[in-house]
């Protein structure tokens, strides 16, 4: 086995053990979207023009994408926590593959996300969301969702390694909750003012949300939207490829160089 694969597996094991020893934050980040589904679906939904069940079907893909975008926050926080603790120094003074540490974090996060998404899907089913497309399309949706999570986690890792302190990363990370608000995750973008609509539709979360709605068969691709939303699957793939291509090498480099 190559050094990267071997060390990477050891680092995935480390992350999963850390989460098992201290599951609080992970459980919280996975419970949050369930709460939001219930609040938005029943409280806000009652004030929208869309009928309740229809809105909840519309909302589930949005929450899935928004939660996946939370990988920025999780990745950032974990990486900042790590980089400001002595354990990273130890790893840097060992003959460990330079890419193994961030890659291990990103892969472990993917495993946790895959499991952590199940409750949201179950509650979604309970409140009326359905897979209305084919099984293959649904699998494609799950694949895109995980790919987006992976990309967001890499972006988070990079930001976490660049941040000055754990606190700074925590604050910046927490502020990422506004990202889904500026997308079509919770509301349709058709009625937004022109420039705001452009901002929202060029938000990667919108492409992912639209792709999920399309592949799960919950809502059609909106007319006259910006390119990533009008071509949601290609848009999602493009956004993810770009994020990973930029963030992963920079994160690995940043990790390997430490403080210089």
């Amino acid at each position: 086995m190559s050094a990267l694969a071997y060390d990477g597996m050891a680092m995935v094991g480390r992350q999963l053990r850390r989460i098992r020893n201290n599951p609080g934050i992970t459980v919280m980040t996975q419970v949050m979207p369930v709460n939001m589904l219930l609040f938005f679906g029943y409280v806000f939904g009652s004030a929208l023009a869309m009928p309740g069940r229809e809105y909840r079907s519309f909302l589930v893909p949005g929450l899935l994408a928004a939660t996946a975008a939370g990988g920025i926050m999780t990745g950032m926080f974990q990486a900042a926590q790590d980089s400001h603790r002595g354990v990273m120094d130890r790893l840097r003074t060992m003959p460990v593959s330079r890419a193994a540490v961030p890659a291990g974090q990103a892969v472990a996060d993917l495993v946790v996300t895959a499991i952590g998404t199940v409750p949201l899907l179950l509650v979604g089913l309970a409140v009326g969301w359905r897979i209305e497309g084919t099984a293959a399309e649904a699998l494609g949706a799950v694949g895109l969702l995980l790919l987006f999570r992976f990309a967001c986690t890499w972006a988070g890792i990079l930001l976490g390694l660049l941040s000055r302190s754990e606190e700074a990363a925590g604050q910046l990370g927490a502020s990422t909750f506004v990202l889904p608000l500026l997308s079509n995750a919770y509301i349709p973008t058709d009625n937004l003012a022109g420039w705001l609509r452009a901002v929202a539709e060029w938000n990667p979360i919108s492409a992912v949300t639209t792709a999920l709605r399309d592949l799960f068969g919950n809502a059609p691709v909106p007319e006259g939207a910006a390119w990533p939303v009008a071509h949601p699957v290609a848009g999602t793939l493009a956004w993810c490829t770009a994020l990973i291509a930029v963030c992963a090498p920079l994160a690995v480099r940043r990790y390997a160089h430490g403080e210089g």
Partner: protein, 319 residues
């Protein structure tokens, strides 16, 4: 006979913005010895360790560690060193056992679980093995840290202030481990602020001051260089001159007068000068005494003497 050096650095320099942390550090540590790097906070000890362990790159200068060039073959250096940093470098979110198993696996140890168990036993952590390291006391964490550094016996082990802030029991365990390692042939580079620690463990001491090695020698050489400090306190200020004359005669060094405390002090390297003799001589010269002390040199004395700067007043610079 030629000496093989496990660590040999020449002119290492490192700046952090306006702070010139290392100003040409020349350090030579013979293979199989324990080198104590002694100095106040901000002298550059930690920066030196971070450079020599590949964590930082020098702005100038070069070094060979365990037979490999630091700049050209960092990976080869990493395969041969162990590091226990000043900040504990274990994962607080993992248990002691999980930490050891993880690092054993990364070191490609075949039976990681068995090695972990063995080290937990050796460092008195067997009972706490399955608690997360963040719940450990400072001493336990430092022991775990050292245990992790010893999973695979390193050629050169760097210990950055391994016992600062530790209770005596933990400190003794770490000292024992260093002795044991030296017996097995590992070279140890140990930074410390404690003269006693350097005295107990080190074959050689490198005195670091403001980013340079100010002096090197064995503990005995350093102490002989510094000598003990004799001090007497007299009841009247007009007795100080007579006390100084006696001290001058006894120690052969120039006495220092502190009129505020009516104290006279002098440094002596004469091993036959004992406290009873000091008191007898002054009594014989008709100098009444309120107090008399004869104490071995402290790190502060070493510093004062060799760098002209006291440890307490040494400029605080983040190392």
């Amino acid at each position: 006979m030629t000496t093989t050096y496990a660590v040999l650095s020449e002119g290492l320099e490192k700046r952090f913005g306006a702070v010139h942390a290392l100003r040409g550090l020349d350090l030579a540590v013979a293979e199989g010895t324990v080198c104590g790097v002694l100095g106040p906070n901000g002298a550059g000890k930690t920066t030196a360790v971070r450079l020599l362990t590949t964590l930082l790159r020098p702005d100038a200068g070069s070094a060979r560690v365990a037979g490999h060039d630091l700049a050209r073959e960092p990976a080869a250096v990493r395969r041969r060193i162990g590091v226990t940093g000043q900040d504990t470098s274990v994962d607080g979110d993992l248990t002691g056992r999980q930490n050891l198993r993880l690092f054993a696996r990364l070191h490609r140890v075949r039976d990681a679980a068995a090695r972990a168990g063995e080290l937990l036993e050796r460092f008195g952590l067997a009972e706490a093995a399955d608690r997360t390291a963040s719940t450990y006391s400072g001493g336990m964490r430092r022991r775990l840290d050292l245990a992790v550094s010893l999973i695979r016996r390193p050629d050169v082990l760097f210990l950055d202030e391994p016992t600062t802030g530790l209770d005596p029991a933990s400190r003794n365990r770490i000292w024992d481990a260093v002795h044991e390692l030296k017996r097995q042939g590992t070279t140890v580079v140990l930074t410390t602020q404690y003269l006693e620690e350097a005295d107990r463990l080190a074959d050689d001491i490198a005195l670091v001051d403001r980013g340079r090695v100010a002096h090197t020698g064995s503990p005995a050489q350093l102490k002989a260089l510094i000598g003990s400090h004799a001090e007497v306190v007299v009841p009247h200020a007009d007795l100080m001159a007579r006390a100084a004359a006696v001290l001058d005669h006894l120690t052969g060094s120039e006495p220092v007068l502190d009129p505020g405390r009516r104290a006279v002090g002098a440094v002596t390297t004469d091993p036959t000068l004992t406290l009873p003799r000091l008191v007898r001589e002054l009594d014989g010269a008709g100098v009444p005494l309120l107090d008399a002390t004869l104490r071995p040199p402290t790190l502060d004395d070493v510093f004062l003497r060799l760098t002209g700067e006291s440890l307490g007043t040494a400029k605080e610079v983040a190392a």
